[in-house]
């Protein structure tokens, strides 16, 4: 029997109430998923304004799906991330003829307290953003959902319409590519700094 976490129970209850358009449940649902969805979209499209617009679009689609009586097959998180993935895909389809924005161009630096901490975190963040940008689309999905947002392998599989076995393979290849990219990037910096 599948273990159901407390968070999953709360999220399922929220979605059930949101289906009846209970304003409090809709507000709680938005509060719970806004930041995770934004982060996912942010790493997929880079531009902060587009990230905000697309995140709002995800919630509009959630609303429309609830109105149509659509069911979530696994967990609410997997269902909402699946919708977010489709929203991003639609966004790229619309912009197919336009030049793609480099991922690291649009990423805003995080605001940490203290100049040294800010520089360290900003450098690490920049390196990570660049490394994530070098992944394939599917690998990036797995990395963001699985490690940035902590979804289970089953949930990621449901969101991406794949089997859990395929997700295990994807996460292995994605982490290998990511670690290679981060290592390569930092060794380039060392070599550049020495000159």
């Amino acid at each position: 029997m599948k273990d159901v976490s407390d968070a999953e129970l709360v999220e399922t209850g929220l979605l059930e109430r949101a289906r009846r358009f209970d304003p409090e449940a809709l507000r709680a649902l938005h509060d719970r998923f806004y930041a995770p969805v934004y982060r996912y979209v942010h790493f997929k499209v880079a531009d902060p304004q587009s990230s905000e617009d697309l995140t709002s679009e995800v919630f509009v689609r959630v609303l429309e799906a609830l109105k149509r009586g659509m069911e979530w097959r696994t967990t609410p998180a997997a269902w909402i991330f699946g919708i977010a993935r489709h929203v991003v895909a639609d966004h790229y389809r619309k912009r197919m003829r336009q030049a793609e924005v480099e991922l690291d161009d649009g990423l805003t630096m995080p605001g940490e307290d203290g100049p040294i901490a800010r520089v360290v975190v900003a450098e690490e963040y920049e390196a990570l953003a660049k490394a994530i940008g070098s992944l394939t689309d599917e690998q990036r999905d797995v990395i963001l959902m699985r490690f940035m947002e902590g979804l289970s392998i089953q949930d990621v599989a449901a969101a991406l319409d794949k089997t859990p076995g395929a997700i295990k393979g994807l996460q292995h290849r994605a982490l290998r590519a990511l670690s290679h990219s981060m290592l390569y990037d930092s060794s380039e910096d060392v070599a550049g700094g020495g000159l």
Binding site: H30, Y34, L128, F147, M148, G150
Partner: protein, 177 residues
């Protein structure tokens, strides 16, 4: 790669990595996982470090307040929410009757109380009669003779029975008795 006791009989690298990541999620330190990973530690280490780095950078992503998104979301919800069908209010019969009869305002409650009083009196009469006719004293009164104390009671019972609506055959039988 693998063959270490820590992963049991598992030899598939994808599964070994998934098991190691589960231990990271459970809060086990990287050093502890790697020290027990045997020959797998070498290839696992950079992958686990990458996974931990991503998780650590989660809080560094600048997320906007989301107020505008929430306002738009709730406004949209109000627009698309199915309109609730107003249920007809069921008015009591006396107010409807009062409307039909065009009685003055405030008369309806009095109409209701009068009707209830009539109903209660009728119910009490019927109940009393049923109890009296079916009671043991009434049965006993069938064998009394004129001059006895309960004889008027017997006559009263007979009169009431004869006055009730019934078939002519049973009425003749009652008269014959």
């Amino acid at each position: 790669m693998s063959g270490d006791v820590n992963w049991g009989i598992e030899t598939d690298p994808d599964t070994i990595l998934a098991l190691a990541l589960d231990r990271v999620s459970a809060g086990e330190s990287l050093g502890s996982i790697l020290s027990s990973a045997g020959a797998d530690a070498e290839w696992l280490e950079p992958l686990l470090v990458a996974a931990i780095t991503i998780r650590r950078m989660r809080g560094a992503v600048p997320v906007p307040s989301g107020e505008a998104s929430l306002a738009g979301f709730l406004a949209r919800a109000r627009r698309v929410a199915p309109k609730s069908v107003a249920k007809p209010v069921l008015r009591p019969w006396w107010t409807r009757l009062s409307d039909v009869l065009r009685l003055p305002a405030g008369f309806a409650p009095r109409l209701a109380s009068v009707a209830m009083s009539i109903l209660l009196v009728a119910f009490a009469l019927i109940s009393g009669l049923t109890l009296f006719l079916g009671s043991p004293s009434a049965v006993a009164a069938q064998n009394v003779l004129p001059g006895q104390i309960v004889y008027p009671l017997k006559r009263l019972g007979e009169d009431i029975l004869l006055s009730l609506p019934q078939s002519s055959q049973s009425r003749s039988a009652k008269v014959a008795e």
